[in-house]
């Protein structure tokens, strides 16, 4: 019955989430039949000139280049007018899924769009400070 309990895939290494061309193929993070319960992303705004946040929408796919079963975007600090320009907040946004979670029949792939919501393809727009997926079933790859 231990499979009834949540497991985590996470990374605390600044995560460059596969900025491949559209459509994103994603990076496999979990194998096997999986129920995904939640997604956490943490971003950090450095300063007005060197923003390094994940501004592109994130997707969870059911195979490499396959169906996008969940997609979301994150609200981030937008610049020195929003925050004290001498301090750089780490922000945290979470998405929780109800019930038994979203079923991925054979693994989970994590990908990001080729551009952000403003159309930017800046390389640093696909870097998260921290990312985590909470799931049951499957196993980390």
């Amino acid at each position: 019955m231990n499979n009834d309990y949540c497991k985590f895939w996470y990374t605390k290494t600044p995560y460059d989430v596969n900025g491949s061309s559209t459509p994103v193929s994603g990076v496999q993070i979990i194998s096997g039949r999986t129920r995904v319960h939640a997604l956490w992303i943490m971003n950090r705004y450095l300063n007005a000139s060197t923003a390094s946040t994940l501004t592109r929408p994130v997707s969870l796919l059911d195979s490499s280049g396959g169906n996008v079963l969940y997609k979301c975007a994150f609200i981030n600090p937008t610049g020195g007018s929003d925050v004290n320009p001498n301090q750089y907040p780490l922000t945290s946004y979470s998405n929780y899924f109800g019930g038994n979670g979203i079923l991925f029949e054979d693994g989970v792939w994590f990908g990001v769009d080729a551009e952000d919501q403003s159309g930017s393809i800046a390389s640093n727009s696909k870097t998260a400070m921290y990312a985590a997926v909470i799931y049951s079933g499957g196993a980390n790859t």
Binding site: Y10, P14, H37, P89, S94, Y96
Partner: protein, 147 residues
Amino acid sequence: MYNFYKCQSKAISRVVAAGTTGVTAVSETIAPVGTRVCVRSFSGSSTSSAYQSTAISANDISTLVLVELHMKDPSETTILEILLPFLPTLQAFATGGTGGVSVFHIPGPGLISSEGLGVKMTIPANPQTGSANGGDIGAVFNLVYSL
């Protein structure tokens, strides 16, 4: 299904004074080895200080508070690590919030450890003092769990 009982909680906090170096580790045992624990949720935040305006780089997480949940087996197997968000300034609240306390639910069945549970919080120091770059570093972490 295993039976778990009503939630309990543990608050862990520490303030590291400005003008120090290295990191401060705070460890707590939630349950000893051999105990089954189910983590339901946790929350936390940390404070930063002005020194981060000069001592940070794009990929640097050493200026952040790191919390590790681990089993109490001999090797203290890591279950989860998480970086605490920090509370930037009061302006953040005035503009709708870009930081502050984050509450992390573990939905569905919760997170189980059959080998006890420990928490280790690692807090960086601010080596600077003075009004421009000084300031203590504080952190708080609340853990809600069932035994």
